[in-house]
Amino acid sequence: MIDGSFLGDLASATFRNATPLVYGTAGETVTERSGVLNLGIEGTMYVGAFTGFAVAWWVGDPLIGLLAAIVAGLLAGAVMGFLTVTLGANQHVSGLGLTIGLIGLSELGNRLLLSGSELQKIQPFPQWNPLAGLGDIGLVFQQYGLTYAAFLLVAPATWWLIGRTPFGLSLRAVGENPEAADAAGISVARTRYAALMIGGALMAVGGAFLTLAVLGAFTLDIIAGRGWVCLALVIFGRWGIWRGVLGALIFAFVYSLGLRLQIMPGFDGIPRELMLALPYLAVIAALALSGRNAPYPGAYLKPYRRS
């Protein structure tokens, strides 16, 4: 049963299933490096999934939908900025409130626009395979454009942005020691707003991937906890994008493997609940092993007030 096509299919599924996690993890990493924990991630992914689909359905073009999702993510980040930066509100409460609010808004929009007897559909983004001729190995490259973008564009760009640009330097300074950054003439508020809005846009694209590429439809609970997984992956990644991407790949690999083993003769003895829990157990184990002495940003969870 375990042959070349099984492995090629498994590898392909791993990259596909890691895709929304890579966007979410990249977004949350940028955000947290500025010292703000954004628990609005689940809701931001949700609103990205909904807005992206609704606009794509309205105008008939998934690319316009993707742009709309990015705008929705920028706005969600700005709202989080208003709550935690401008008002200095508690980040846990603000983030959870944002998630609940954005899911509620999306569901309201869904009921007003799309609810009915038939599921509304769009023509989703196609898959692309430059190496289709390679047989089983070529299966790995059978992917959506957004998957290619996640690994070849977003992850390196996030690394470059945080580590190699003046903005990244400001970001890290604000996240570690906002007083010193302020004294050096960096606007703490502006930097955090920017981080939250960039992060929000990335999270929203992660959500929109599910509606615009994978399904071509929006249904309730479409994110199904993937945003919360990203929060753990950021810690696993120790606030670095490459380790975060690795975590996303591990999670997606175990998730994809579990779905395949569950239906394989001979694996009936293993409780299916255990198979479904495996990716989460893998993340918990990875966190327990690597999460000790996690290098939290110095200003994590602390609102900044000039004193």
């Binding site: 096509s5 599921l119 249904t219 609970d221 479409i222 199904a224 395949r260 239906i263």
Partner: protein, 335 residues
Amino acid sequence: MSTRRHLLIAGGTALVLAAAAAPGAFAQEPLKVNAAYSSVIEEPWDGVIHAALEAEAAAGRIVHTWQDGIGYDGGMELALREIAESESPAIIFGDSFGNEEAVRRVAADYPEIPFVFGSGGGPAEPNFSVFDNWIHEPAFIAGWIAGGMTESNIIGVVAGYPVPEVNRITNAFIAGAQAKNPEVEVKVTFINSWFDPATAKEAALAQIGAGADVLYAERAGVIEAAAEKGVLAIGNMSDQSSIAPGSVLTSVTWNMTPTVEYVIDQVLAGSYTSQDLKDFSMMAKGGAALAPINTELVPEDLAAEAMDAEAQIRSGLLRVSINEATPSGSEMVGE
């Protein structure tokens, strides 16, 4: 002239008399019906109940007031007490999964109001009736079609949780497939969620990777996988052919109209009693059905066999057995 006028007067008088004599047929005040759902009406299960009640409202038989998304942490009891106290409804419909005790507690306090709820439990005197989706009969026929259509002899089912209502349609589907084609192997994946279409699609892709060429979409997301990979699918709950007309063979459907009509008739006649309304969700009374078979995909003789099975079920000659045991991940004949 005068004869015609006489006829008109006579006809008019007859109409007036008929209206006066049969208040049930004319000028009937519509019943005030409330509905309360733990989940939301976009969720297919509650959506079927909602659609049946909306149809009655459109026909003018009831005035329909509903609320959904009440949840599972105490809100249902409050919502139902509020409805019972302040709205004095003629009937309350809803779903009580996850709220069984709370719903029954309220029902017991308002014995004069009929409570008609989707439930895994039994009815309770004097006013609490239960229904559920008993769609194992069309699931059996759909399995028969799947067994006839598969070329790889591997069929997939992607389902939510292994709870009784899901197990019985899954088992009936497997029984139908294996009755038609003893060679067939049925792979069953439970995604442990009612709503995670992305995971349902992934589970379906895994089954296709393992050779499945006909998939039963108990959950949303599966038909998308079938369409992408060029294999066949069978929808669930409602006719889902519009999702992928080139892939969907037929759908296993549930219709709450017979249940809703029966309850309203009983209440109007003053003869309502608590009962298990199961039969009204089965094929004989129109509560369960197979959606039109896609004859561009299904060969004529196989479609004829399916229609024949349907006729036999309707006439009571064929009884699909109810098996609520959890199927295993890979079901072969004799296991």
